[in-house]
Amino acid sequence: MTPVREALVLPLTFLTVVLCGGLHLTTPVTIEAPTLFSLVLASLVLGVLVQTGTLAPVRLMHGGRSPLANVNGLVVLMTAFLATAQVLSMMTPASGLPALALSVFFLIAILQLLAAGVDRIRFLRVWAVTLLSAFTIKFILLAALTGPADRPLARALQVLVEGLTLGAFSQPVEPASSGYLAFVTLALYLFGLALLPGMQRAALVRRH
């Protein structure tokens, strides 16, 4: 891995994810820190990253590197952790039944990845699909079910869902721009994950 990627590209990418993931484009605009549960989930994801070889901490920090290089490596680890927590927090609905359901969904998905022992490529695919599914649920499905309804059928559906869930379904209304910002943030996060220094495989050498 080049020093530019390690010292500049990765930390700045993950910090941008932390900033954009915390932005809530409501009126007034607020910036929120990741939730406590997302911090717990992020620490599990960090374990999965190491287990699947997506992230090799030994390539970021070890005794043979200069102190400055180790500082850069530590910054990459810390920002990757915070970006993961922020993305999980961003993809989890604000409150009620959907928040609980998505939190459990993330926990199960991460535990499955831990147990499956997949490689780097498969992990990145599965993790991208998991996060995109959560994105679809929060920013498309839930936004349609809890946002302002302009047609009678949509209003009737909202009333039905509210009634069936005893009001535990409603979410604070967020502008459409929130979804676009979340999508860009998610793409940036996955880009950062793909750039992480992974486990290097030993080359196969044919002996004659």
Binding site: P11, L68, V75
Partner: protein, 166 residues
């Protein structure tokens, strides 16, 4: 570029970016002007526009409070100057003051601005040297704003109408 230089630049940029994010999360700026003002204040470069401030002061003493607040907001675009914020809070007090009853909405807005001004002031102390004001400290103004929002039996005292605006 040499590797150690890249690493130093990376570490410095990351630390500055992280500090910026923490500052944004703590101060919750509401506009780009507040972001720019906060950043310039952090390096001691933030200045209140004297023309806007004097305009605001002139409107304030003419009891034209809406105009005064607009001028003060222009002068202190990032809402970081305790003195300007004190005058904005005072304008809410004077606008909301009534001989029989006070405007709770104006008093609440005034209290919010004043609390922000107190949090910005060194040691939380704001004292204004303006002979045209009867309350020259944030403590006096705050007590008046809080008292104006409190419901008590003395509110029914008919002698209240003899009180004057400060």
């Amino acid at each position: 570029m040499q590797e150690p230089v890249v690493r130093v630049i990376g570490a410095t940029l990351s630390a500055a970016y992280a500090a910026f994010i923490v500052w944004m999360a703590i101060s919750q700026p509401q506009s780009l002007a507040e972001v720019a003002g906060g950043l310039s204040a952090s390096v001691g470069a933030y200045r209140v526009d004297p023309v806007g401030f004097n305009d605001g002061l002139r409107f304030f003493h003419q009891d034209r409070f809406v105009e005064a607040r607009a001028a003060f907001a222009r002068a202190d675009a990032a809402s970081l100057d305790p003195l300007t914020q004190f005058y904005i809070a005072y304008s809410y007090y004077r606008e909301g003051w009534g001989r029989v009853s006070h405007d709770d909405e104006a008093y609440t807005a005034g209290l919010k601005v004043l609390d922000r001004a107190i949090s910005l002031a060194p040691d939380g102390r704001i004292v204004v040297d303006d002979p045209q004001l009867q309350m020259r400290s944030a403590d006096e103004l705050r007590a008046e704003l809080v008292a104006g929002q409190t419901r008590e039996w003395s509110d029914l005292n008919p002698m209240r109408v003899l009180r004057s605006r400060k």
